[in-house]
Subunit: 504 residues, 2 copies
């Protein structure tokens, strides 16, 4: 059966001299990439790692990331991609929770020395590590149901969970994506989304498997992206809607030769129809494709193909149809399948469904039930299997493609001495899809507190993207249900009443 | 995980009103096809079938075949597609060997009443069976590693083996093929190869999974095929080289509007460069794709894409590169991987490798070894993973896409009282790829026997395509190795010396 070793082994077999990866001035053929992936994995074994041990990577998009992402699982270890936007406490939490033994990073190693056994810098350290490998093989003793990666979703607290994805999970997702967008050996993909995100790493295995070329963009910048699209005759890219919008605006303002671009994918949050329209105007040769998924699903669930043709139809609000291989249904709380048109929770089965949450048996049991993975998203199907998301049953905000758990932000707010009650939710935002918004009831005697103080307080404790963009103060208590649960939907509703679409 | 229930369930979800299947004057939407597949499976349960019980289908290409092929495994039973060209003894062997309990057929049921519990005619019987179904569900209690089908390869004797393919095997092959030829929802496939063959049935699951349309051609006829291509704007078809050649000749002689045709696939035996050239001339819009595989591999192993561009290059002799998902190596007898350019036996690993031969543990153990399935084919890879087949280590002839085991034909020859010694092998043939040829040494006193007598004798005992097309008589004994094994290669060599390519 297939493991991470198979795509890279096939690429070396069928395209050894072809350019696999371009990272700035550096270029690697598939023969070289194979060797470097094999060397990363095999050289790590020298530190006494056992099969299944965790190895983390904290870096912007770069060839080291791709080599680690492939090479660590292909050697039987588990890769832990860390979010570069996380604060030190958040990173430490993920490292300790996962029991990571080795961290590869381009950052100062000092702050991490307490959490892991070895920190390896992505420069000379990394190259001498590779040079030390005794063998250049991949996949020996690795099986499809072995864990390949732990992907952290959420933040510093109980809300942060390590999503366990096996080789088979990620390989299945790769094959679903290959079929969905007709991957070709002559494709050249520009990686604009961060590789620690599914939207970035999603493309790695399919590109390698087909023997296509990947070009790294270290951190997103629309002008730099377009320069690379022109220079390398890029055929496809995948990002969050804010990136796609920025690409379109840059191209409309300062056009490059971008006619090679045949596919622009986006996901992670809803896209405005106007962005689709302008993106199509900017890149008329490209098919626009929306994807919907979740880290727990490796990540793809549905695909909306040919989105540029749907702008003036109701289906522009849909996140598309289930991919062949992914069983998607909407179910009521009692497990009954809801018929077409009736809202239910999105429940997914298939070889792409995660193994569980690392060391979190209760949360695993709550998510992985008899009928599959209960996504927490609410939606309905139309008569041709187009899925329309209407709400999230889990208390999560998606802002600029990042997931923010309300409870985590609320916990931080409650730490402030002036805060009596707090509720956090997402409100519509043209740039971010949703923006994090807080409603706060101040304690008696602290009524003079201002939003900026609250925001600064949060900024010291959680990643920037989780910090509320706006804070409203209320003098009366928050509305609550009988059992005392805050009725967040009542607070949220006024912000969303003029929106014509649900959340993605 | 995925079973045969998933493609048809997804098709009903995303394309309920779309035409799934056209069979002469009959047309079925996916809603209807789903229901008919579900009904076949559920109604058979009324005969007391247990999960895993075998149900055979003996019919030309027709909607009943497709319904049975999907519906029987989707209900937890095992489908046994029978070769319509087999003789009665050959069919009986497969029915008895497989322990088939129910046979669905358009033929006279009388001769089969002794071998199976029930024979159901594909007319009124079949329709009332469907009407009797109590439930209309698929896939309940069916798991991916359950057996989905038993596919008989070989003939009446020990050489005939039931290849055990699981749901996962055939689903994996479907996803490999979907990615390889970029299957699309708006594709319309014409089924020209017999559905009991991999070249015919290969297209069923991918078509259904993408929600595409399939058009049945009951039995191959090039003019009828082209009429259907024009009428239904067919986009793709798959056949053996003799069929493709006939299509090209018909189109060149009496052109139809065939511009919709974007893909012509072929496999099962080698194709002459001249056929590729003329097929491209006849269908300039179509990509020509050669596939190589084996029933034991569900069946696809390699694909040669864009064959029309390779006509004047060495790679026209290749059968292509390994599909993503299929691990293909060449190995020497001791299991060592042979380096590029060096001939070895083709050994395959992947989710598409069969479970074994039905009730044949020794033959299973010989074929399924530590490194995967040992195909019996000899070949080498070039520097970009193109596989070139040079010979078959198993004593098999491929003629018009059918496999003939020499030993089976030799056993029949030895039954004739005039035959002292016999050797059977394939010789080059423009129409059939290989033609079955026999060399016979007559017994003393029977020297007057003529080829026609031998051929007639065979025709009464084995399927037409296995009967020698030519017979040579020798007066001296057959050449033998030290241990007395006939040196068939010495007999074979003079016929092949002017051929510029190996066997596929």
């Amino acid at each position: 059966m297939n493991t991470f070793a198979d795509p890279i082994r096939r690429a070396r077999q069928v395209a050894p001299s072809k350019v696999a990866l371009i990272d700035g001035a550096k270029t690697f053929t598939y023969r070289e990439l194979f060797e470097r992936c094999a060397r990363v994995g095999n050289s790590l074994a020298r530190f006494g790692l056992e099969p299944g041990d965790r190895v983390a990577i904290l870096a912007p998009n770069c060839h080291h990331f791709v080599e680690t992402y492939i090479g660590v699982p292909a050697a039987g270890f588990v890769v832990v991609p860390l979010n570069v936007r996380h604060t030190q406490p958040e990173l430490e939490y993920a490292l300790r929770d996962s029991g990571t033994r080795i961290l590869l990073t381009d950052r100062d190693p000092a702050p991490f020395r307490d959490c892991v056994e070895h920190v390896i810098g992505l420069g000379a350290d990394y190259e001498s590590l590779l040079a030390s490998a005794m063998r250049i093989t991949v996949g020996e003793g690795v099986f499809e149901n072995d864990l390949a990666g732990l992907f952290y979703t959420g933040g510093t607290t109980g809300a942060a969970k390590g999503v366990m994805l096996s080789h088979r999970n990620l390989i299945a997702n790769a094959s679903h994506w290959m079929a969905a967008v007709h991957q070709r050996p002559d494709d050249r993909w520009l990686i604009i989304a961060p590789l620690f995100h599914a939207a970035g790493s999603l493309q790695i295995l399919p590109s390698v498997w087909t023997g296509a070329t990947q070009v790294m963009l270290r951190s997103f910048d629309p002008a730099a992206a377009l320069d690379l699209i022109e220079k390398h005759h890029i055929t496809g890219t995948l990002g969050v809607p804010t990136m796609i919008a920025a690409l379109a605006e840059e191209q409309l303002a300062r056009p490059r030769r971008a006619g090679s671009l045949r596919l622009i994918g986006h996901g992670g949050s809803p896209i405005a129809s106007e962005v689709v329209r302008r993106t199509h105007a900017a890149f008329p040769n490209a098919e626009l494709v929306e994807v919907y998924g979740a880290t727990e699903l490796s990540p793809l669930v549905t695909v909306l193909s040919g989105e540029q043709h749907l702008v003036d139809t109701p289906r522009i609000q849909s996140c598309g149809q289930p991919l062949p291989g992914v069983d998607v249904r909407t179910r009521s709380e009692d497990g009954r399948e809801t018929p077409g048109g009736e809202v239910g929770e999105v429940v997914v089965k298939g070889p792409n469904v995660m193994q569980g949450y690392w060391n979190k048996p209760e949360q695993t049991a709550a998510a992985l039930r008899a009928d599959g993975y209960w996504s927490g998203d609410l939606g309905y199907f139309d008569e041709e299997g187009y899925l329309f998301l209407v709400d999230r049953s889990k208390d999560m905000i998606v802002t600029g493609g990042e997931n923010v758990y309300s409870t985590e932000v609320e916990e931080v707010l409650y730490q402030h001495s002036a805060v009596l009650e707090a509720a956090v939710f997402g409100i519509p935002d043209d740039t971010w899809g949703e923006a994090v918004h807080a409603v706060v009831v101040a304690r008696e005697g602290h009524e003079a507190i201002d939003p900026q103080t609250i925001i600064e307080f949060c900024r010291e404790r959680i990643a920037d993207y989780k910090v509320p963009k706006s804070v409203d103060f209320r003098s009366e208590p928050l509305p609550k249900s009988g059992p005392g649960k805050v009725l967040k939907r009542d607070l949220r509703a006024p912000f969303w009443k003029d929106q014509d679409r649900g959340v993605h």
